[in-house]
Symmetry: none
């Protein structure tokens, strides 16, 4: 395993900067979080994309948000088949163990995963259809969303499918019995967001009219 190496210096240097500043000024809080355990108010499901850091947008501090990040901020449907389901495990832990009050799904513009899904579903990316394509099989979760945007003009399809990535995930979340139960009891609310990387705008899904509106 010669490709496994100690931490590169550029990261070590940054770490030391953090240790001497942020850690030092928050030491008491971090120790409290360690001794008393975490109690985040919300779970956020967002994309791995390096341009969308929920910790930045919401000024998230240590202890505030339980964050799961995957390609295209997707939640698969409830499938208790005994296989590894990383997203479902994260949702289960957040909702049943940590008892978060909110689950926020945060989509974004220019999403590479959503764009791949768009190409795959429209027949332009046969390599993503292969059984061996992890990205393709992951984006299968979004296929129901693609079907719903059949009537959307071509030039608006990317945005529409990014919205669907949020909506399909919210719907799938409600297929989990433990999510549904706490939501019905008024102990959990779900929220759909989409952010434009370039303009820094944030849109929130309003279920009453089924649209995303600027926050």
């Amino acid at each position: 395993m010669s490709s496994i190496k100690p931490l590169p210096n550029f990261l070590a240097q940054r770490y030391h900067g953090w240790k001497a500043t942020t850690y030092d000024e928050n030491k008491a809080w971090y120790r409290l979080l360690a001794s008393e355990g975490q109690r985040p108010r919300a779970m956020v499901i967002s994309c791995c994309d390096s341009r969308v850091h929920v910790t930045s947008i919401f000024g998230a501090e240590q202890g505030e948000f339980f964050i799961h990040r995957n390609i295209a901020n997707l939640v698969p449907p409830f499938e208790p088949d005994g296989d590894h389901h990383g997203t479902s495990a994260a949702v289960e832990y957040a909702v049943t163990v940590l008892k978060v009050a909110h689950v926020v799904v945060l989509g974004h513009s220019l999403c590479g995963g959503v764009n791949g899904c768009l190409k795959m579903c429209s027949g332009e990316a046969p390599e993503l259809e292969k059984s061996s394509s992890f990205v393709g099989r992951w984006m299968d979760i979004l296929r129901p969303g693609y079907e719903r945007i059949a009537d959307v003009p071509e030039e608006e399809k990317a945005r529409a499918l990014e919205y669907q990535a949020v909506l399909v995930s919210l719907e799938n979340l409600l297929t989990f019995p433990f999510v549904k139960e706490r939501a019905d009891a008024g102990l959990l609310s779900l929220h759909g967001l989409w952010t434009d990387i370039s303009e820094g705008t944030l849109h929130s899904y309003h279920p009453d009219d089924g649209e995303f509106h600027p926050v």
Copy 2:
């Protein structure tokens, strides 16, 4: 879906604060990231835990790290079986599309997922053994690590298994042909880290002696 609601005001307020400050002073960079695409230097795989934000520890700015977060920072082995594999999809995208130069696996102290695995493997948490337990089935990935720490004294097992969560993931990463290939070509290096939430220390895995050393 009455449990789906618009963004709560406390998050809207924080967002507006970010928009008026951080976004405003970095607008040119964010627009460039949007128009030119992301080009992160590293992928980081870390835990969902609200107390471990890699964006904080490394002062990560927009565009720098492609971040996947799941319970206990685990990577499953290469299993191209056509099912949804969120972690494998993220690794595939980072390595083959974005061509990141580093993959960093960041473990941490007091990990709830690792602790659950410890209890499950030692027979103290039968509920996690159920087929329907997403957390249990996800933590199955770490079972080989549990077997390796059989001789570790009881009071050191938690830390030892947290280290294993990093090591098993690094090993599993190398079972992915596209990871192996780029690593062998010297185009990708892998790094194992572990951070202590309370003390803010960071330990890096050194393959030469097989130990984690403080950075």
Copy 3:
């Protein structure tokens, strides 16, 4: 005094967010409040509890409420003995200098101070009886309230004593000559409230039947 440190960054960031948004859009009003002085309509006495912010419940804007917060929203009786009396000083300033029209005492459910008093008075918390216990000595103010709920069933005592924390404070307020005088002249009215943290309900004391009724 090495434990005294500059403002942590997480608070600085929130402040900058406020400055760029709320302050900016209310600048003219804040400047007027500075140049002309404050003229709050009411004084509110509420608990320090982080879950009860009167500014939130009543949407209090800058300039509207003069707010004193202490453990269990208590007002001690009139004792002009030359010692430091923070609560009495606040009441004196609000009533004689600012000439507020209302004094509102806001109690709440799950009050840690009231619960401590309950345990202390029933003999379960000897540590609170010590002369050196600031919380214990402060809660002494509520002892007369405990005596009045002697006949209340055990499981209703906490709520009953929370009500008493409001009522004893209202009664003590009227022992202050300057409060009595303005109240008798019809220039000041007193109000007793109690809010349920969990349900968000608000109950108002009605002197005609001596009960708290939902608002």
Copy 4:
């Protein structure tokens, strides 16, 4: 007690607005705070002044800050004499029961209490010297601060004494054994702030040069 009345309608109306909006969208969080108890990160000691709401400046949400407000944000020295000490009780509860990581003392411009102290100490307000003046006796806590600003030019004395109200309080906080102990153990840090009501600026005390600097 005919001066005790039910809640005035203007406050009832505001409450109903909050209940239908903020409460409704945060119901799950408030219920969690009720069932699990509060765990604020910081205690804030600020003035009753209606123009300085820390909940606004820091966007404080339910559950985040344990807030004590009194005239001129003062903390008296440690005096375990068995009398009622509301401020000391609040500090004791925050530090020993809630184990907050930070105590922030927030002063402000145009402070009526500080101004009264200035007049009292310079002989211009004999009525505040009376044993029966609660405001006067409360402001006695700040007398040591007045002595230290003897050399400050007349026109800068108000600001200097507002700073002293913060510094004397920080010093007094460290006379409490339970504060000192946790501070020495690195589990608690203290912070001094001063805000300008008119300009919305915020200054933080830096112990290294003994000055307040803009945040």
